[in-house]
């Protein structure tokens, strides 16, 4: 089940990644097309069209001014209409008649000069704009027609002031020039309008083809994302369930092991007592009947039996050490530490070890006095036992109040422990280097199991050659 859901998870993540990537590629392509369209319209077609419109306006203004010169001011509409009417009436007559009307010849040369300057500026501006392939021919035609228009206007300006100048030919020519300019302007404007249209069509095409794909990809990616979340959730749940199952199995195993070890140890103790009583009785009788050789043999057997008893006691204690404490149990650290120190004093003296108790907190801890006694005496016994080969022999016991827990430390002046051995020492059936005292290596394992079963920890700090500090911690009573 887990493998299948993992496979599903991988597929969903791959789809999500591919979908998102494709979506990003599509969107960036659309964005680049839109950007180039924008560039064509905004930077090229747009300004060109605007410039052409300016030129058209310039030409129209000049044309209007010339018309004004010839036909009268626009404000003088009655006069102008009368002249136009007269023109129409006298259409049959030669234009000479019409043009022989009283002249007011070129009264506004400064205004024409200004218009010219503006026109020159707009042309220069148009010529400075970005070009496009195919733009050269309409542009050249427009410039030619503008030059021609200028020369026609110049001809008007060159006419001598005074009445009766013949302007009819020039007016026709001006109209023709304006018409030419208009046509060329239209061609140039059309060219740029076509460019803008084409770009817009491209953009539209791109968005029409890309949009459905983008929507589809978005849906696929969203589905993959939802799938990923669901599958991840399911996998986490499965992993949790698996961990819980394995934790329960481990707990059950530990309980079975404890029950088994406890049963075995217990069933060994009764027969051991029978043997012990038998040996003690035999020892007494051998002594009473004066049989020293038998007495020696019995003494050896008794010593061996003592060791076996110690082993079985260790096993029994280890088997029991994983049990959780009953709620409400507590023990006085001060009382237990001093009791243990007192109990070990004769043994320490015998081994020439100075056993000292330092700074003991008056807090209570959450375990039974028996458990605390077992913890402290295991560490003190170890320390005294392994000091035998050292020159300086001192063991210091202290209990520190760390707030939420009490830490009991047993410091010795022994040979210390190599870092590689420090963790291993707390495994069952592991004995310290050069250990000679009778034991099966359960002391520290029991300490750690007891401490952890009560919500605490156990460990060692040591540098080879500088002694060791074995410690355990137990939660304190609030």
């Amino acid at each position: 089940v887990t493998r299948a859901s993992l496979r599903g998870l991988v597929v969903a993540v791959v789809v999500l990644f591919a979908g998102t990537t494709a979506l990003v590629v599509l969107l960036s392509r659309a964005a680049s097309v839109l950007a180039s369209t924008d560039e064509v319209i905004a930077n090229r077609a747009g300004p060109n069209i605007v410039a052409l419109q300016t030129i058209r306006a310039d030409v129209q203004q000049q044309h209007a001014l010339v018309d004004e010169w010839v036909l009268g001011a626009p404000g003088d509409s009655a006069v102008r209409r009368a002249r136009i009417d007269a023109l129409r009436r006298e259409a049959a007559q030669s234009r000479h008649d019409y043009l022989s009307l009283p002249p007011t010849w070129f009264p506004e040369t400064p205004r024409m000069d200004a218009l010219r300057r503006e026109a020159t500026r707009s042309r220069e501006e148009y010529l400075s704009l970005e070009r496009a392939p195919g733009d050269a021919s309409p542009r050249a035609a427009l410039m030619d027609s503008l030059d021609h228009f200028d020369s026609v206007v110049d001809r008007f300006r060159a006419l001598p002031p005074g009445d009766g100048a013949d302007t009819s030919g020039a007016l026709y020519e001006l109209d023709a020039a304006v018409g030419q300019v208009g046509g060329n302007l239209a061609r140039a404007t059309d060219f740029w309008a076509d460019v803008a249209n084409a770009a817009s069509r491209d953009a539209l095409g791109v968005s029409r083809t890309l949009l459905p794909s983008a929507i589809l990809l978005g849906i696929v990616s969203a589905a993959a994302a939802v799938g990923t979340i669901l599958l991840t959730f399911r996998s986490v749940r499965q992993a949790e369930a698996l961990a819980e199952t394995s934790r329960r199995a481990l707990e059950r195993k530990a309980e079975e092991l404890e029950a088994f070890a406890g049963r075995v140890a217990h069933d060994l103790l009764s027969p051991l007592m029978t043997v012990g009583l038998g040996l003690d009785l035999a020892q007494r009788r051998a002594a009473a009947f004066g049989e020293p050789r038998a007495s020696n043999a019995i003494a050896r057997a008794s010593a061996t039996l003592q060791r076996v008893r110690a082993f079985v006691s260790d096993l029994l204690e280890f088997a029991r050490s994983g049990a959780k404490p009953l709620p409400g149990t507590h023990a006085s650290v001060d009382g237990v530490v001093r009791d243990v120190a007192e109990e070990f004093e004769p043994i320490a003296q015998e081994a020439h070890v100075e056993l000292r108790v330092e700074s003991v907190t008056d807090r209570d801890v959450r375990c039974s006095p028996g458990v605390l006694t077992s913890l402290v005496s295991n560490l003190v016994e170890n320390a005294v036992k392994y000091l035998v080969s050292s020159e300086m022999r001192r063991v210091v016991v202290r209990a520190l109040d760390l707030g939420k827990e009490v830490r009991v430390e047993v410091e010795d002046t022994g040979p210390g422990i190599a870092p590689s051995d420090q963790e291993r020492l707390f495994d069952p059936f592991v004995r310290g280097p050069g250990a000679s005292a009778p034991a099966i290596g359960l002391g520290l394992a029991t300490v750690r199991r007891l401490a952890e079963a009560h919500g605490g920890h156990a460990g060692v700090q040591s540098e080879p050659g500088h002694g060791a500090v074995f410690w355990f911690s137990i939660p304190s009573v609030a």
Partner: protein, 136 residues
């Protein structure tokens, strides 16, 4: 010297205890479960009962209970609990006896406790309502 009843389902240990106690000058009878022990009490009342905890059919606490309930005379006999049972101190408290010896226990220590019990003769003061720490 005293009259002592040893009740233990481990026959070898019961025999060894009997021999040790007889060697110390006491009169000893042996039973191998609670019912056997009660039958021996019917015969005559001893000065001290050495009682195992875990036994088949009727266990140590069960026999102590019967001694207390059935006959007024039997509840005055001091009981020395001899057992490897983990909760020995708790069972001793429940039965109300100040005398107990954890297995294994050496000869000298055992005789010291027996002598003390015979000297003090404190009868059990059972507290059957205390939470059970003994076997079912």
């Amino acid at each position: 010297m005293a009259d002592i009843l040893v009740v233990d389902d481990d026959r070898d240990l019961a025999a060894a205890l009997a021999e040790v106690l007889e060697d110390a000058g006491h009169t000893v009878r042996v039973a191998h479960d609670g019912w056997g022990g009660l039958a021996a009490l019917d015969e005559r009342l001893p000065d001290l009962v050495l009682l195992d905890i875990e036994m088949p059919s009727l266990d140590g606490p069960g026999m102590a209970h019967q001694m207390f309930v059935l006959d007024v005379g039997r509840d005055k006999i001091p009981i020395l609990l001899v057992s490897a049972f983990v909760g020995l101190p708790a069972v001793a408290r429940r039965i109300g006896t100040p005398y107990s010896a954890p297995k294994p226990c050496g000869l000298d220590r055992l005789l010291r406790i027996v002598d003390r019990a015979l000297l003090e003769k404190k009868p059990p003061e059972p507290r059957f309502n205390e939470p059970s720490a003994g076997p079912p």
